[in-house]
């Protein structure tokens, strides 16, 4: 409970600061933009948080996002219908998670190392299969190798998942809604089913779980699969949402945002802690800070420092709150 109080406070404070100091932030369109960005990071935060709960870490998230975005584009360009490409790319994500999970559980390699290698490998893969991909590259009527007939299904996907109308205007925060739906599903598994109990137990004390008859390795693999699948979903959303994706840049260092969101949301990197609602709240922090900085025309040079200090301050206050609460109890 206390773990959540801190992040609720932080998110509220940031929103208050944003809305009070920056009139232009109050625009509904702007708030929807922010929400969509929160959805975008939130989806990978869910995955990262789950991995963190079982005591692991996944540094390959960003590369999987980029690789999935590129793969989505390349697959469609090669003639696969968007509605078929989507599950294909999800399957790619699941496979990545499976490989990560198997390397970590069967070969007992350190998760940090395996996924760091994955970060290189999938970035490289993205670059090998395609340079820059974009919706127009896939559907450009002027390009004989393209598939103009995919334009409508792609736009349909975009309006359903991202919330942009046919012209690209954001009409509802689709990604945020998607995040909420996914968080509900994940929260259900985490807090209401036996799987969640296993994940918490594994994160805190793997041996205890093992001695209780839990198939620890299988659960670990499942979690890595979920994480990478969510990352590949995020990659496709990125493709749908963004004008274009560069193989060498798309999604890069998103794993840091995901992990940051998870940790801000109350996950401990020691494992065994975290809640679904915390993850969502944790993922909401960065986009608000970012929006604040953008709207206030801050000098580019100062931005990283402002972001870093805000996050640090948030964490410190969170910690102090928690302590006071613990002392009072």
């Amino acid at each position: 409970m206390t773990r959540i109080l801190g992040i609720v406070g932080l998110v509220s404070a940031l929103y208050a600061a944003l809305l009070l100091t920056t009139p232009s932030a109050r625009d509904v369109g702007n708030l929807m933009d922010v929400a969509n960005l929160q959805g975008q990071y939130g989806i990978i935060t869910l995955g990262a948080a789950l991995v963190i709960i079982v005591g692991g870490i996944d540094l390959s998230i960003g590369s999987v996002v980029g690789c999935s975005a590129v793969l989505f584009g390349v697959t469609m360009k090669s003639g696969v219908h968007p509605y078929a490409a989507l599950p294909l790319v999800l399957a790619f994500g699941a496979t990545v998670g499976l490989v990560n999970g198997l390397l970590i559980t069967r070969l007992k390699l350190q998760a940090f190392l395996v996924t760091l290698c994955g970060m290189f490998v999938y970035r490289g893969l993205a670059r090998l299969i395609g340079g820059t991909v974009s919706r127009t590259w896939v559907t450009d009527p002027r390009d004989p190798t393209a598939h103009p007939e995919f334009d409508t299904p792609i736009r349909n996907l975009r309006s359903g998942l991202v919330g942009k109308d046919f012209l690209g205007e954001l009409v509802f925060p689709g990604e945020f809604i998607l995040l909420i739906v996914l968080a509900l599903v994940l929260g259900f598994f985490l807090h209401r089913t036996a799987y969640g109990r296993y994940w918490y137990a594994i994160g805190h004390n793997e041996l205890a779980a093992k001695y209780a008859g839990v198939n620890v390795d299988r659960q670990r693999v499942i979690v890595y699969v979920i994480c990478s699948t969510l990352a590949s979903l995020a990659g496709m959303l990125l493709f749908l949402n963004m004008p274009s994706i560069q193989a060498d840049a798309g999604g890069s260092s998103w794993e840091l945002f995901a992990i940051l969101g998870a940790v801000l949301g109350g996950c401990s990197l020691r494992g065994g802690e975290g809640t679904a609602i915390g993850m969502v709240l944790g993922a909401m922090v960065m986009p608000v800070v970012d929006n604040f900085v953008n709207l206030n025309g801050m000098k580019s040079d100062g931005i990283p420092a402002v972001i870093g200090l805000t996050l640090l301050l948030g964490t410190i206050i969170d910690e102090l709150l928690r302590r006071r609460n613990a002392a009072r109890k």
Binding site: D33, P243, S244, Q246, A249, S252, P304
Partner: protein, 348 residues
């Protein structure tokens, strides 16, 4: 771009300060010059300026910044486009709401962008190719270095160099120049391009030096080498690698952009020359144009292809008209002084 209503009437009242926003494609000293120019114009033309250098060369980072500005109701936006094709649709939508111009890297005219401030990267790349031809008239071995192979300016720039080198000779025709056996590559006219592509380094950093150093290592013993650095930080990185191998003066270096180190080294005769775009002017012009448009004055809009690149060498040369553009050939020392003056004219 006459078809949109947003730009037909002045969108600021007489005494009001227009709010103009400029977003680059990444963070770079090159853009610091641009920012200086923009700041100067903001002062000269009484404008509130938002200038943003995004952390990474990634449309996914650039777009949310632009969207936030649109929502905020700025009067004009100048964008260095990252992927013209991909960004086309969104820019079209945005141009309907805000006065939009492109700079440094253009988008299709059909987006409704009011004008483009900047050189044609392919043309500028060709100018680099001509420099290479000048320093190695009989052909030779070349290597190209760049940040990435996927952004529009990179593709155009390196493409321009190779276009120039392979004309008038046919592509792929083996040159006569001797190369080492274990070095693979591809001929462009009389020039043998190591590995057949530009080596990428992912941005400024030690990798730029390592890349150059390792290519020099592989070319040990080969004569008539020209190393081409196509992003601003590449020429000094190449020079550093050449220094470490005592090859300064023994190999030719040709660059792109007006890095101060590059200019100094040209003056010192260590680098042959560079092709510059004058980012200070990009910044100044962009803000000036958008400010005028915001006040209802469209006379400042540039026509097609009005921004020429310049070619800097140690000794300079007379102006020439190339492909319909009047190109200046300033001396390195003079140009360096101009940049210093530009920078000094705006307090940081």
């Amino acid at each position: 771009g006459g078809g949109n209503s947003a730009t037909n009437a002045p969108n600021v009242a007489g005494g009001e300060r227009p709010k103009i926003a400029v977003v680059t494609n990444c963070t770079d000293p090159f853009w610091d010059l641009c920012e200086a120019g923009a700041n100067k114009a903001a002062k000269d033309h009484n404008v509130d300026l938002l200038f943003r250098q995004p952390e990474k060369l990634d449309a996914a980072i650039q777009m949310p910044i632009i969207e936030a500005w649109v929502k905020q109701g700025v009067n004009g936006i100048a964008v260095s486009v990252i992927d013209p094709k991909g960004q086309e649709e969104d820019l079209t939508r945005i141009a309907k709401k805000v006065s939009l111009i492109t700079m440094d890297n253009d988008a299709a005219e059909s987006t409704g962008r009011l004008c483009y401030v900047g050189v044609d990267n392919r043309e500028a790349g060709r100018a680099v190719g001509r420099l290479v031809k000048k320093v190695l008239p009989n052909g030779g071995t070349i290597a190209m270095f760049i940040g990435n192979n996927s952004s529009a300016n990179a593709i155009d720039r390196s493409g321009g160099v190779l276009d120039e080198l392979k004309t008038p000779d046919a592509d792929g025709k083996p040159g006569t120049h001797p190369v080492k056996k274990d070095v693979t590559g591809k001929y462009y006219g009389k020039y043998f391009l190591v590995d057949g592509e530009a080596k990428t380094d992912g941005g400024p950093g030690e990798k730029a030096v390592t890349n150059a150093r390792d290519v020099l290592g592989r070319l040990d013993g080969v004569t008539d080498i020209c190393m081409i650095g196509l992003y601003a930080y590449n020429p000094p990185a190449i020079l550093e690698a050449a220094r470490a191998k005592s090859l300064v003066g023994k190999i030719k270096i040709v660059g792109f952009d007006e890095n101060l180190e590059t200019l100094k080294s040209i003056a010192a005769g260590e680098i042959e020359g560079t092709v510059v775009q004058d980012p200070f002017n990009y910044g100044y012009k962009s803000v000036e144009i958008l400010a005028a448009v915001a006040r209802g004055d469209k006379s400042k809009l540039l026509g097609k292809g009005q921004t020429p690149y310049q070619v800097i060498t140690k000794d300079g040369g007379p102006d020439q008209t190339i492909n319909g553009l009047l190109i200046k050939f300033p001396k390195a020392v003079d140009f360096e002084k101009k940049i210093r003056d530009d920078l000094a004219s705006v307090k940081k």
